[in-house]
Assembly symmetry: C2
């Protein structure tokens, strides 16, 4: 409310630099939806909005849609338009943080492969600084600072969803290497094995990612195996095997679903344990659509699957569940805009 008043005053003539500073925007840019949130100085959500990602649109339209979602989120937070002190955007694809460009996000904008100056274009609309980040990394950073990771100094986030993304926070600092670190989904768990969405073979994601799992179900059906997965998909009027469909299939002991998820858990155990042997962080945070939907039972199963491969078994780090829910990516993006968090 205070923000709204100050926003109102600003419109009556005070300079924007004097009134901005108490609310930050965060955007989680996905292939199907744009999740926008407005947070206060300690990262607490004040309002949020979800817009569909425009289908068949170019980068310009996507930027406009992001701005609209931010304005909606601002409204729901009681803020006047364009009152955000800064905005962060978490995006898939290839993010160049220094240049503020986003490339290779064909699942977001139509034919969006070349670098587009997303930060600059959005900055013109919101009239404030915009920072880009990797979608999974910012979600992991949010969990580290405000969620499941708060008791730890260093964490590995494993986002188990359509793909298997990862994020690292080492001694409090997000680690991105030269920009592409955290790709735990592409740790090779079975050289020459199953084909992955990335085109390579034997990646952890090839066994655990929802996209690759669906591919394996279709193959099983073609081989004549019986599963209820696609029937539930049709009943729920979906075009993909969503996390909730997988959850139902496991609850109902669907044989194909159970076998594939059992194998996914085994391979997650192998790949995450390998990462722990290299990094020796304090904890693993399990997030993502499948991770959060399948919940603590599967976090525990992944912990057990890691056990045979962890080099210092007496100090195997816990596998904890992400806590911030669907807003974690957007909140983490807002943290990129550096609210003081005091």
């Amino acid at each position: 409310m205070d923000e709204a008043r100050r926003g109102g005053e600003a419109q009556r003539g005070s300079r924007s630099s004097e009134v901005k500073g108490s609310a930050w925007g965060g955007v989680d840019l996905g292939g199907t939806k744009i999740e926008a949130v407005v947070v206060d100085a300690v990262g607490r959500p004040l309002g949020n909005a979800r817009h569909p990602t425009p289908g068949d649109a170019g980068p310009k339209d996507v930027v406009r849609a992001i701005f609209d979602a931010l304005e909606d989120a601002s409204r729901s937070a009681g803020l006047a338009p364009r009152r955000l002190a800064g905005v962060g955007v978490g995006a898939p694809g290839s993010v160049d943080i220094q240049m503020g460009t986003l490339a290779r996000v064909s699942n977001v904008g139509k034919g969006w492969t070349e670098p587009y100056p997303l930060a600059g274009a959005l900055s013109d609309l919101v009239r404030g600084p915009v920072v880009l980040g990797n979608d999974v990394q910012v979600a992991v950073t949010a969990e580290y600072r405000l969620g499941a990771g708060t008791p730890y100094r260093s964490v590995l986030g494993v986002w188990w969803g359509t793909g298997v993304g990862g994020g690292l926070v080492l001694d409090g600092v997000p680690w991105r290497g030269r920009g592409a670190a955290g790709e735990i989904g592409h740790v090779v768990v079975n050289p020459g094995g199953s084909r992955c969405g990335c085109g390579r073979r034997g990646c952890m994601e090839a066994y655990a990612g929802r996209g690759c799992l669906e591919h394996k179900v279709r193959k099983a059906v073609r081989r004549g195996e019986k599963t209820m997965l696609f029937e539930w998909m049709r009943k729920k009027d979906r075009t993909r095997l969503t996390s909730s469909i997988w959850k139902k299939a496991l609850d109902e002991r669907d044989v194909v679903a159970t076998r594939l998820i059992d194998n996914a858990v085994l391979m997650l155990g192998v790949g995450i344990a390998s990462a722990i042997n290299i990094l020796d962080v304090d904890a693993v945070i399990l997030g993502g659509g499948l991770g959060t939907r399948l919940g603590i039972e599967y976090a525990d199963r992944i912990y057990e699957a890691m056990r045979p491969h962890v080099f210092v078994p007496e100090r195997q780090p816990p596998v904890v569940l992400a806590q911030l829910g669907e807003l974690s990516g957007a909140i983490g993006a807002a943290l990129l805009a550096e609210p003081p968090l005091h």
Copy 2:
């Protein structure tokens, strides 16, 4: 010479705290030898000495042997006894840096499994501060600061020898996690595969470590395969297949040696690429007995073996050879004692 003069003066009465400060000691503690070095303020070796690790001895005898090696190295640097400003020790096994203890080094001292206060005991002898570190990590740190890693901000060191050790320097800071990071030899490259020296299955070391390779050669011989490896071992009067024996076997196109090393290279490619996908560091430094002996040809082959598995192939980091040679571990240990490096 300046050092020697100052050391001499010290013996004629000045207090030790006034004259220490220009030379630091470093020790690489191995199962067969103790390598000691004395370095100047920029990490340059002033003198060194190599002593055998006392066989069948307890921790106390090992500490005494370390001290003797340091005193020899000091002498060869022209220093009077006990003139080192500080000493660092790189050791295998389980190092507790805070407590200054070393445990689980059964290959060093007889039955040395419980934590022993190595730092304190050695400090009493050298009459100065002693810091412990992991043997591979300190060697990698030395390469980072003074050798092959100097052009880079972040590196992964892979020490290919009896085992396959690893070390990380991230943005200039050695990364040890909770003390056990860098165990790249125990990245799982083939779940359920070959037995590793650590007792687990499918570790990279199980395919690439010299210890496990020798085990595979013995199995091949039992199966009736022909190899010259053991004959060269006897001719060289060795009890183990050393790096130079492997080098000769490859040069002579020994079939068993070639097949096993080819497979080792493939598996090193898988495991190191997986680590790169997680960490995205600037470069890989290849060291260790086998790594340095097989040289640049094999660094290049490992680079090629990584290629199919690297997630961002256009930015695959180079694999460069360690440059500091056999003293890298001891020099890196000396850096633990924090010479100013100005």
